[in-house]
């Protein structure tokens, strides 16, 4: 039964929105079934999770079919009496739904094989929260009024909180979960305030009304800043990022994948929704602010990622980096929009959305990959891994795809996004403001720096985990991932490859979104010279053809291979490594993650707060320890905590136990009020 009524005038038959609602409800239903199945492991992992993947796939297809097909709305019979929940399916929502469905499908497939028997939380509960998480993310994307949005938003936070704390026996994980939920909640409060400002005293909280308001510029700015604060807290934008490297590693890997790959994207969706859809009169400096914040976040994230020794923390910081890039791209689009340059805004926005889709794929892939590693070895510390490529070829090679995408290497997805982003940043000379003209291309250089550092980080990540020799004996018994996991990873890797090779096809999907948000699209121009050549502006200006690129490399490789093997010989001999003739080398002598990060730690010293313990020369068992921590924590969070603590202590004095004082309060209050009456 379609719970709503189609709003676009057609009453007979089911509209895409109805089907999509059904799919989302199916996710919720799978969650409920999970509760029923509680500890029946087989049912949960072999039936419910694959079904969830199927639903995700269906959702993606449905959303793709609805893309660009006009706006559909529905009003549900639930919600507040005067504000029933409104849903709306437009291109923006549809695009994010595609990403959600497709990536969710891959992760669900992986999860079907991932969750094991006897791991604390009952599998059924896990399943319930997992699918609630997915459903509430879809809810966020579909919501068309402030109440529905907030409900879905907070449900999403709550479901993910429970997933993060699935292994709640560890105090660190609990603490991480708490920090996460707290910041999410504070962010949600800011978002609520933002909607409050947007409604402009009309008292009507449907997005349709918010869209119809035109705010004075001061209040528009307030709303924008609140949105930036609220959604930024969820996305991990700079000063509010501290929860992210704590929470993402704490969660089970498929959940980390969902959080990094998808949940952060809902925050970006929120920013787009408010910044481009609900607010009409963007001001240039908002964009500049976003660019600055985004770049700072990206740089910060990548620098921190480079020095991490925990593989999931590394990925979490890398997510911060990618979110930073997306925010910067969005800022640029906003800037162009403020200067009434829809074409360029569309370019920047396309780059951003491409980055969103690409990051969703490769980050999910990397996170589930670490999950497999974790399962095989029980180890998260990079310093104790190594040489897994031969033990786990499937995981190793598939993760390599993700690593390449993440490092922004052509011809995979990450590069396309970066390329588009750089293109859009290099285009500013059209801006009216000379200063901006100058600053924005400089930002492109910063993006280049971030991308290069990301490459560094990813080499470290992959090399230390999968290459070389196992650093611990236990790793020799590591086993490859099961078929479900392989299928999930394969799907995600295929996403990275497809996004990398066929940008013109996917830009066609993004086109309706940019049409909706900034009134211009890229698709026609981008694919002007065929599906294989990406020309976002003109062919003279810039072009990139991933298929040709791949073909070039592959042809060269094969040709050389053929020639070398044909002309010479294929003799090969295995021997102990040469290593400049040093015969006593052990695996402990190879660079660990810490060693690999050392140059970065040295160059970017001011970024970190490093605590080192150096052994003295006379120690029998010398211990070297060096811990890198976040300055923001000490400079921002601790003072706030202390301030609250201080106020709480002062307030606590009110309740000091003496009844006479209590009576005095009452008495003084009475006198005060009596005097008020007299006045």
């Amino acid at each position: 039964m379609p719970p709503g009524n189609g709003g676009s005038g057609v009453n007979s038959g089911w509209l895409p929105l109805d089907w999509i609602m059904l799919a989302v409800a199916a996710w919720g239903g799978l969650g409920a079934l999970g509760i029923l199945a509680w500890r029946r492991f087989f049912i949960v992992s072999r039936i419910l999770f694959p079904l969830g993947a199927l639903v995700g796939l269906v959702l993606a297809v449905l959303a793709a079919s609805a893309l660009g097909g006009g706006v559909e709305t529905a009003v549900l019979a639930v919600g507040l009496p005067h504000l029933p929940m409104h849903l709306r399916l437009d291109s923006l929502a549809a695009f994010f739904l595609i990403v959600l469905g497709a990536v969710g499908a891959g992760v669900s497939l992986f999860a079907a094989g991932y969750f094991r028997r006897g791991e604390g939380t009952p599998p059924g509960l896990m399943c319930a929260q997992y699918h609630n998480f997915l459903a509430s993310m879809a809810g966020v994307l579909l919501a068309d009024d402030a109440y529905a949005f907030m409900v879905a938003w907070e449900c999403m936070a709550m479901a993910s909180f429970f997933l993060v704390t699935a292994n709640h026996k560890s105090p660190e994980i609990r603490q991480a979960g708490f920090l996460y939920l707290l910041i999410a909640h504070l962010g949600a409060i800011a978002i609520l305030l933002c909607f409050g400002v947007l409604q402009a005293q009309t008292g009507d909280y449907t997005f349709a009304n918010l869209r119809a308001q035109s705010l004075p510029s001061f209040w528009a700015t307030v709303a924008f800043l609140l949105a930036l604060l609220g959604f930024g807290a969820k996305a991990g934008v700079l000063p509010l990022h501290v929860w992210l490297p704590e929470a993402h590693p704490a969660a089970p890997s498929p959940v980390s994948a969902l959080m990094s790959g998808l949940m952060l994207k809902t925050a970006l969706y929120g920013l787009l929704r408010v910044g481009f859809d609900l607010l009409h009169q963007p001001q240039g400096w908002w964009g500049v602010l976003m660019i600055a914040l985004g770049l700072a976040t990206a740089l910060f994230g990548v620098v921190f990622a480079a020095v991490q020794v925990d593989m999931k923390r590394l990925l979490a910081y890398s997510s911060i980096e990618n979110i930073g890039l997306a925010v910067a791209g969005m800022g640029l689009a906003l800037l162009f929009r403020a200067h009434a340059m829809p074409g360029l805004a569309a370019l920047a926005l396309t780059a951003t959305l491409y980055h969103v889709a690409s990051h969703a794929c490769f980050k999910s892939l990397l996170f589930v990959g670490t999950g497999s590693v974790l399962h095989a070895t029980g180890e998260r510390n990079l310093g104790r891994l190594g040489g897994l490529l031969r033990k786990m070829p499937w995981v190793g090679w598939l993760v390599l795809v993700g690593v390449f995408a993440s490092a922004g290497l052509p011809p995979l997805s990450g590069f396309v996004a970066e390329w588009l982003l750089l293109q859009s940043f290099l285009f500013t000379p059209g801006l009216a403001d000379a200063f901006l003209n100058m600053i924005v291309p400089i930002a492109a250089v910063a993006i280049a720096l971030v991308a290069a550092l990301a490459g560094y980080t990813m080499v470290k990540f992959y090399g230390v985990i999968f290459l070389g020799q196992p650093r611990e004996e236990t790793l020799r018994t590591a086993h490859d991932a099961g078929w479900w996991e392989r299928a999930g990873m394969l799907w995600l890797a295929a996403g990275c490859v497809a996004l990398g090779l066929l940008p013109t096809v996917f830009i066609r999907l993004i086109d309706p979104v940019t049409q909706q948000l900034v009134g211009a699209g890229l698709a026609d121009q981008a694919g002007l010279y065929g599906w294989w050549l990406l020309t976002p502006v003109t062919i003279e200006r810039a072009s990139y053809s991933p298929p040709l690129f791949l073909f070039g490399i592959a042809a060269a490789c094969l040709l050389v291979f053929w020639l070398v093997r044909g002309r010479y010989h294929g003799h090969l001999r295995r021997s102990p490594p040469w290593d400049c003739g040093f015969a006593w080398q052990t695996t402990r002598m190879v660079d660990t993650a810490e060693g690999f990060g050392q140059p970065i730690r040295q160059i970017f010293e001011p970024f970190f707060r490093v605590e080192r313990t150096l052994p003295s020369p006379f120690d029998i068992k010398p211990v070297y320890r060096s811990e890198v921590s976040d300055r923001f924590w000490y400079a921002l969070y601790l003072p706030v905590m202390r301030a609250v603590e201080f106020v709480a202590r002062q307030v606590g004095r009110l309740q000091q136990g003496r009844i006479a004082i209590y009576l005095l309060y009452s008495f003084l209050t009475l006198l005060f009020m009596l005097l008020m009456v007299r006045r």
Partner: protein
């Protein structure tokens, strides 16, 4: 007889008595005297009630007066006497503020009360123009007494004095509340006193003293 002149005067007399007694209680150091003063206050309420009943001819007020007499002038003082006998707490009362200061504050309170009640009394067409102000002043003074006493029994007496003032206000300013209400209030007061008595024993049992400074453990730290 010329009631027109006399009756308000009589009422004012009782009212003044209430106020003076309130001040007396505020400055009283002996617990036994405090109970006596409280009894007197109860009697003034009875007197005022009788006068009002006589003037307005509302018969239920006689009943109310009788109830007050029974409760405030006989039963409660008797209970209090019993209580201090049983608990053996005849000694002096410690105040948290010295007495001259309390008197000064008390005078300020009276001024505030009169100031507040003034406009209302102007409106009030009853025979008791000033009584509302005096009742309010008594309430505030009793309140103050509760704040400044460190022992349980004087605090309770302060509480009861406040109720006296309220009864006075009810009769003098409004010619008595409806009967049902009066009965209910009386019942509550009675039960309240009984519970208080029970409490006193329990507190005494637990802490070997009725000093409410023992009752300051529950707080934020």
């Amino acid at each position: 007889m010329d009631f027109d002149g006399l009756i308000p005067q009589l009422l004012n007399l009782f009212a003044s008595a209430m106020l003076i007694l309130a001040f007396a209680m505020l400055s009283q150091r002996r617990i036994l005297r405090l109970i006596h003063l409280f009894t007197l206050q109860g009697l003034s309420v009875v007197g005022a009630t009788l006068v009002v009943a006589w003037v307005t001819g509302q018969h239920h007020l006689y009943f109310s007066a009788a109830l007050t007499l029974l409760l405030k002038a006989i039963l409660i003082p008797w209970l209090l006497h019993k209580l201090i006998d049983r608990l053996n707490v005849r000694w002096d009362i410690e105040t948290l503020l010295n007495i001259p200061t309390m008197m000064l504050v008390g005078i300020v309170l009276v001024i505030i009360a009169f100031n507040l009640a003034g406009p209302i009394s102007q409106l009030s067409g009853s025979i008791a123009r000033g009584t509302l102000g005096i009742a309010l002043a008594c309430v505030l003074l009793s309140f103050m007494m509760m704040i400044t006493r460190a022992k349980a029994i004087p605090q309770v007496i302060g509480f009861l004095a406040m109720e006296n003032a309220l009864f006075f206000a009810a009769t003098a300013a409004t010619y008595g509340m409806p009967m049902v209400v009066e009965l209910g209030i009386a019942l509550d007061v009675l039960v309240g006193i009984l519970i208080l008595g029970v409490f006193m024993f329990q507190i005494r049992e637990q802490f070997d003293s009725l000093d409410i400074r023992h009752l300051e453990k529950l707080k934020e730290d």
